[in-house]
Symmetry: C2
Subunit: 338 residues, 2 copies
Amino acid sequence: MTAETKLTLAKLAELAGVSTSTASRALKDNPLIKKETRVKIQALAKENNFSINAAASRLRTQKTNVIAVILNLIDNTEQSTTDPFLLKLVGELNQALNAKGYELLLSNSFMASDDWANYFIHSQRADGILVIGQGKTTEKIDRAAKSGVPIVVWGDTKTDAGYPIVGGNNFLGGYEATKYLLSQGAKRVLFLGDSEHAEMGERLKGFMQAHEEANIEPDFSHVGAIDITSKTAYQYINNRIKANGLDFDGIVCVSDMVALGALKALKERYVGIPSDVGIVGYDDISLAELMHPALTTIRQNTQQAATLMVEQLLNQLENKPTENQIVETSLIVRRSTK
Amino acid sequence: MTAETKLTLAKLAELAGVSTSTASRALKDNPLIKKETRVKIQALAKENNFSINAAASRLRTQKTNVIAVILNLIDNTEQSTTDPFLLKLVGELNQALNAKGYELLLSNSFMASDDWANYFIHSQRADGILVIGQGKTTEKIDRAAKSGVPIVVWGDTKTDAGYPIVGGNNFLGGYEATKYLLSQGAKRVLFLGDSEHAEMGERLKGFMQAHEEANIEPDFSHVGAIDITSKTAYQYINNRIKANGLDFDGIVCVSDMVALGALKALKERYVGIPSDVGIVGYDDISLAELMHPALTTIRQNTQQAATLMVEQLLNQLENKPTENQIVETSLIVRRSTK
DNA sequence: GAATAAAATGCAATCGTTTGCAATTTTTTA
DNA sequence: TAAAAAATTGCAAACGATTGCATTTTATTC
């Protein structure tokens, strides 16, 4: 029915009785073209459901208006595909990018070969890269950045790298979480998370600092180095109690998911929360307040995070200077702490 | 440093001392080219970090190897950006698409104008469209499909549309959830969800059927028609109890998120779960088993869902026949029911 | 009303690949 | 060893939009 041969700019121009150059300019509202002509062509385009061929346009302009977002998974953990915080961030990035006229190409670090600069940028699939998570090693990121590709990373802002990093104030987050627990009377606080991971390492430092200020010697046996999933947290707490009994009265978790795992293990053993053990999570995912007890946690403003990341990336695309950015972090007190 | 002018196929060919045609074919392992030449050029390409210009390639071949995934949000609900189930599905789709050599362009229904066929396909941004959710009206989907665009929808498979739909067995899910509650002695079961939404409507039918088989007259006052978020569920249960007292002893929820909201409201009022009220969720998101009590729920196999959707889409791209597909659905019994 | 300036439009090259067909080289056959 | 067949390679024309520059049209000035 409507199977006229595909509508191209040339045909549209012909329909309008102008040249393709005029048509092209008219569609972009170029003031070089008489206003009258512009509106006429624009109307015609709308009427005929015309839309510019992106492939051709990209080839010609050397610009794609696409940004690749890479979920930088920690190798074989299933974390990221599932982690609500990261996925939420993806959603926010999508909004933020759209608002600036960009589209979002989603990737994870498994595919897309190892050479991001080539795969995404030189191949003209995208104009820039947003990486979610530093992973355990920043090798790939560094390589891409070194080759001059516009790139922004969500991670630990204390890392001094050749590219802008946007992240929460992890030190402060860890500090406040811990301080709050201690101020409520906790004496033996556990840190649950993998401190080799840069962001988590910062939080651990905050954890230490809070102890120092409270004149409590942080007991390193209380620092649990585990991979960041609820399942492992659950197992860890279970095993620990089995082995040592309840030798702690507070937990600082590196994510709400981890907190949930811990919470479950404790509840199953009838440990009172917050009476026996206080728990503080991290991220403030939407479920945190639905928990019972509702989870005290450190909120990271994902919307702001997305906006800042996109901002920094656009700065690079426009050759403006860039800098690391810190996202608001705040302690949300709920019922899992006294 | 490495700022030689950008490497194109032509230059690579020159380096190798062959024509661009030969180079092009060699890179695709075309048997037309002598094996020896092929490996030589491939090696050279790897060595020089060459990668084909996607824009040019797409223009020439009229194929993008990109699939657009549209989160078809229900207008101004904040649902989808947050809903773990939908985001999980996105993650799985990404994997499934990558496995078939496609990339994933993420969109939500807010942007991308209203004319998907044009915006994504005719403009050569993508080869096909995967829609997550039917929304309240399928208008946009219908329009896109009518214009002959390859499209697959996640939704209610009972809908008879001009395009393949992949979805869970919603009738069965609703049926089993309800039947289980009734079999455990529940007498007044609430259905929590918006039955105007096609998938939810099916679940409601299953709900009815189970009642019929158990010879219990489903009391329509027990069908709560609410928008599907945990917040509204929480409010609904709160208001209801305030108004009517505890006039039910079981809840079938249309999502785990809704179940969590309900759960929270009940717990706050010290309603025993499952002793006073049994709850069954839907989706089996990763948090379901972390709840306390762990949530009985209907699991939908998202991985299978993603695989089937991609399969149906590829069928369309290859002009093979397509059909609606039903994803495995199973009752996972945990502690929120007797 | 002619000359000049300003505004509007069109020409044609270009972006980098792919591919039908023609041309060349190598192998086989008689 | 020449002719025919098979195996390799190269030529050149697309794909559809954008844009510097030239050209035409319209408005302004004297």
